[in-house]
């Protein structure tokens, strides 16, 4: 008998603010330990929290981008537990009255096609510090620079049905949050973290099976691997007549396995209660509406528009909208007069190769549009255009691509004397191929065109080369 997998994800993203959630310390990543600390985030006696307006604004944007209802009043609560990187002995979070509830992420499941995963809630909270267990023997070292950094916690419904689907959901969620400009969503820098819940049940069963919680995954790929390992573990357990216990598991990327955490369930009595240091978070409904209105077009809508407006393929639209900056760049290129399909090809090819390497666009959109135009009107060949593009990347003076093509001697040659000279040279260089062609092997024409282009250094106009070649190869003298 088969098993159905049920997965829910809790995603923490760092909200892109300059200062921490409840104090004026910097959120900068990578500063020397315990330098971005103050009475509040050190948890000193007598210090009090004051919420960061920008964190609230970003969390509100995130909630609206996910289609959630943002509540006009929400409540900060204390989650009480002892851990050395938790300075106050409690985390300020939201509990029974979160910032928002509801919402969904629509995405393409690898197995089920287009589906929606519901969002249960989104709330704001502060991060803990960092514990280093391997620096000093027998000691745990604590850096509180991270303590108090603002987070949004996004809890999905238990709507995901496979590890691969969970990964697709994460990709789509990250895309939305990046579009909304609320977070850098970098797992390496710890600005996006994922905890997962997984259970299995018989297909069609109403009741959920006992779930386990899986932590300690440092990439989307590892989320998928960890969930797959845990799915297999639970299925094997149940198939052999065993029982799944509700435990917390840690993923080990080196072994690809999960193992139980040592923290005891009994210590998970967090004794939540409203934080008496913080009055309710009250947001005017007009202000909430303004945040929604200020959101940029989100990936889903943008894909649809690119297809409708520019006649792009679904694939091209998909790829172009993976990142908002790439889509923006593409639209700037088209806006500067480039043919949309040609622009899509260029952006997803040469442009992305550079962007993926160093994270920025080396050639301005107007320059690219001009270059595409130069191909279109036959000024440069496609091959030559690629050389111009490379040259543009290294050029900081924002030279016009057409002028650069001239400087580089890459403007196409249509002059028949020159073309005939290159054709004669090629025919002389490849006598056996000439014989084979004349013997009926006409597909060698492409070979000769290529050779002529090469000899011309890309300058020959391929459309002009063909008739000259055919004429000369037809002469049997």
């Amino acid at each position: 008998m088969s098993w159905e997998t049920v997965i829910g994800l809790e995603v923490h993203v760092q909200l892109k603010t300059r200062s921490k959630m409840f104090c004026g310390c910097s959120t900068a990543f990578g500063d020397p330990p315990n330098t971005n600390v103050c009475p509040v985030c050190l948890g000193l006696p007598g210090a009090l929290p004051v919420p960061n307006a920008e964190a609230i604004r970003l969390a509100t944007r995130a909630a609206i981008a996910l289609g959630a209802a943002v509540h006009p009043a929400s409540v900060f609560a204390r989650k009480n537990y002892f851990y050395p990187d938790l300075p106050k002995g409690y985390q300020i979070t939201q509990f029974d009255q979160p910032l928002s509830t509801g919402g969904e992420v629509v995405f393409d499941s690898p197995e089920r096609g287009r589906i929606a995963c519901s969002i249960t809630r989104l709330h704001v909270e502060e991060d803990a510090g960092k514990s280093l267990h391997d620096r000093y023997p027998g000691k745990t070292a604590i850096d509180l620079n991270r303590a108090g950094v603002p987070l949004a916690e996004i809890v999905s419904g238990a709507d995901l049905r496979s590890p691969a689907e969970a990964r697709s959901y994460l990709t789509a969620l990250k895309q939305i949050l990046m579009y909304a400009g609320v977070s850098d969503c970098s797992m390496e820098k710890g600005s996006l973290r994922v905890d997962a819940n997984l259970s299995v049940r018989r297909p069609g069963a109403e009741q959920l099976g006992t779930k386990t919680e899986i932590k300690n995954m440092n990439s989307f790929a590892n989320v998928e691997r960890a969930l797959e390992a845990e799915r297999l573990r639970q299925v094997a357990l149940l198939d052999s007549g065993g029982r799944v216990d509700q435990v917390t598991l840690l993923f080990n990327a080196a072994t690809g396995q999960v193992r139980p955490s040592r923290s005891k369930e009994e210590s998970h009595d967090y004794r939540y209660f409203p934080d008496p240091d913080l009055p309710p978070l009250v947001l005017a409904s007009r202000w909430i509406d303004e945040q929604g209105a200020a959101l940029p077009e989100l990936p889903e809508a943008r894909r649809g528009r690119l297809i409708a407006m520019y006649g792009l393929s679904t694939y091209h639209a998909q790829e172009l909208t993976l990142e908002r900056s790439v889509a923006d760049y593409f639209e700037s290129v088209v806006g500067a007069g480039a043919d949309p399909k040609a622009a899509a090809g260029w952006v997803l090819g040469d442009v992305m190769a550079g962007y993926n390497a160093d994270g920025h666009f080396a050639v301005g959109p107007e320059q690219l549009a001009e270059l595409i135009g130069a191909i279109g009107d036959g000024t440069v060949s496609h091959q030559a255009a690629k050389q111009v593009f490379v040259a543009l990347k290294g050029d900081v003076t924002m030279t016009s691509p057409r002028a650069l093509a001239v400087t580089l001697g890459l403007v196409q040659v249509q002059d028949s004397t020159a073309l005939e000279r290159w054709v004669d040279e090629v025919l002389a260089a490849f006598p056996s191929e000439v014989l084979r062609f004349r013997g009926g092997e006409t597909k060698l024409l492409g070979f000769f065109v290529g050779q002529v282009m090469r000899r011309s250094g890309g300058k020959a106009d391929p459309k002009g080369v063909q008739p000259v070649l055919q004429a000369k190869l037809g002469n049997q003298d």
Binding site: P39, L44, G46, N80, P84, G89, F273, P276, L278
Partner: protein, 482 residues
């Protein structure tokens, strides 16, 4: 030591210097210590002299309008200062010196006050007798066998002994009004949100209020005016500074005073009852209208308080874990949990441990609804009782006894925690409702001070202080009430 206004005028006008005020307070502090009051935990003649020098320099440089120029003010040792330690009367913070200063301290200094001493208290302000300090109990200035009340007993004793004209204490459930009553001085708790808590070591955050002792209503009101007002470091403050002349006595003709019957039980101590009767007679003589009112949920104030305050305390005191500051005790296991349990188990005294355990219990899984949530609801009912009296009975102020008895003997209530809690039965209500309230002396019973309490609507301090000043003027003089 002179009154606040007298010192401030003399120092501000240059007739005398802050330095001479510093010398006098230093002498008086030494006398108090020599008498064995045990009211102070830290003070330094050099430090006070340095502060005085600074104030004198500002005055010489032309600083006018320093409302507390050269006025020595003592601070309860749960208000953080950067020079002296802030111990909260606890072993766990025995040598802790705060890296930042409380907002009220900054405001006092800006007004020209001298921080004279840090005063003894019940550990983390948990107690009603100042017997629960890790550094020994505070003696009542009139009789060393008696308690001064608590938890701000050190501040109360210093003011009552004439060492300082005013001092800061803190209230969570009456910890200034109750010792003020026991010691025969004035104690004013402001509206919750009127005075910043930034730098007050938290006990029950939704209740904690920095409050003021003075030998007179005017002394207390002048200090309160300086420390009140919005603070960007405390999200629970309100933009409502107190006018400086809040305590000018005003005629009381037509003022409606409510007398809640639940605060005058048949078994009330006769001396305390006599004090209230005397205050009623004086108020009537001054033209006030005294009417009976009812606050039906009064009996639940103490149990409500002893759910909510420990719950918040259990969370507020979690930060004392020996990891980042304060005392550290290593457990036998040598691991982190052992360190936590040893540090906290040995660092906190018995009353603090009891409250942490009770607070943890009422928030724990399965008990939250029955205790914490229920107490929150009853707190709402208690607050509604007060609003009904002010709105529907149209009373301007409420008059009650401050405490059920005059000062009791040391050791009398330490065996039974609940008996100690009941010492706060008349002061808890205003704390839970967040209302301004004060105690002022209403004479003596068998030689011991008794106080009466005035309670005002939220942000009604001015009218409360004005009425108190008028009442004080006529109550002063005749001593024995029975």
């Amino acid at each position: 030591m002179n009154a606040v206004a007298t010192i401030a005028n003399a120092v501000g006008s240059g007739r005398t210097s802050a330095a001479s005020a510093a010398r006098e307070v230093t002498r008086l502090l030494a006398d108090a210590d020599a008498r064995g009051l045990n009211a102070t935990l830290h003070w330094s003649a050099t430090q006070v002299a340095r502060e005085a020098e600074e104030v004198d320099g500002r005055i010489r440089a032309g600083a006018a309008d320093l409302p507390l120029a050269g006025v020595p003010v003592a601070l309860k040792d749960n208000i953080v200062t950067t020079e002296a330690p802030t111990t909260c009367g606890s072993r766990i913070l025995e040598r802790y010196v705060s890296p930042f200063e409380a907002t009220v301290v900054t405001r006092l200094r800006a007004a020209g006050a001298l921080i004279a001493a840090k005063t003894n208290l019940d550990e983390f302000a948990m107690g009603s007798s100042t017997e629960h300090s890790a550094f020994g109990r505070v003696r009542h200035p009139m009789d060393p066998d008696l308690v001064p009340g608590g938890s701000s007993g050190g501040s109360a004793a210093l003011v009552a002994a004439g060492v300082v004209p005013a001092a800061l204490g803190s209230e969570t459930g009456g910890s200034v009004r109750q010792p003020a009553s026991f010691c025969g001085i004035v104690g004013v708790k402001p509206t919750y949100g009127r005075v910043s808590r930034y730098g007050l070591v938290a006990f029950g955050s939704s209740l904690d209020c920095i409050s003021v002792f003075g030998r007179s209503v005017d002394d207390a009101a002048r200090v309160l005016a300086v420390i009140s007002g919005l603070d960007s470091h405390d999200a629970t403050t309100v933009d409502a500074p107190l006018p400086p002349a809040a305590a000018e006595a005003r005629p009381l003709a037509g003022l409606r005073i409510g007398l809640p019957r639940e605060y005058l039980p048949d078994d009330l101590h006769p001396g305390v009852r006599a004090g209230v009767d005397r205050a009623i007679a004086r108020l009537r003589a001054l033209g006030a209208i005294v009417v009976p009112v009812s606050l039906p949920h009064t009996a639940y104030a103490v149990p409500t308080y002893y759910v909510l305050a420990p719950a918040e305390a259990a969370s507020n005191l979690a930060r004392y874990d020996g990891a980042r500051y304060g005392s550290r005790k290593t457990g036998t296991a040598g691991d982190l949990r052992g360190l936590y349990r040893a540090t906290r188990g040995q660092g906190f005294g018995p009353e603090v441990r009891r409250r942490i355990l009770v607070g943890t219990y009422v928030l724990s899984a399965g008990y939250y609804d029955a205790y914490y949530r229920k107490a929150q609801q009853v707190r709402n009912l208690l607050a509604a009782d007060f609003s009904r009296a002010f709105r529907e009975d149209r009373v301007d102020l409420l008059l009650t006894p401050t405490t059920p008895t005059p000062a009791f003997r040391a050791g009398e209530k330490t065996a039974d925690p609940v008996a100690m809690y009941l010492a706060d039965i008349f002061v808890c209500g205003a704390s839970l409702a967040g209302l301004p309230a004060m105690s002022l002396p209403a004479g003596r019973s068998d030689g011991l001070p008794v106080g009466v309490q005035l309670i005002a609507p939220a942000f009604g301090e001015t009218r409360m202080l004005q009425a108190a000043a008028a009442l004080e003027a006529v109550l002063r003089g005749d001593e024995e009430v029975r």
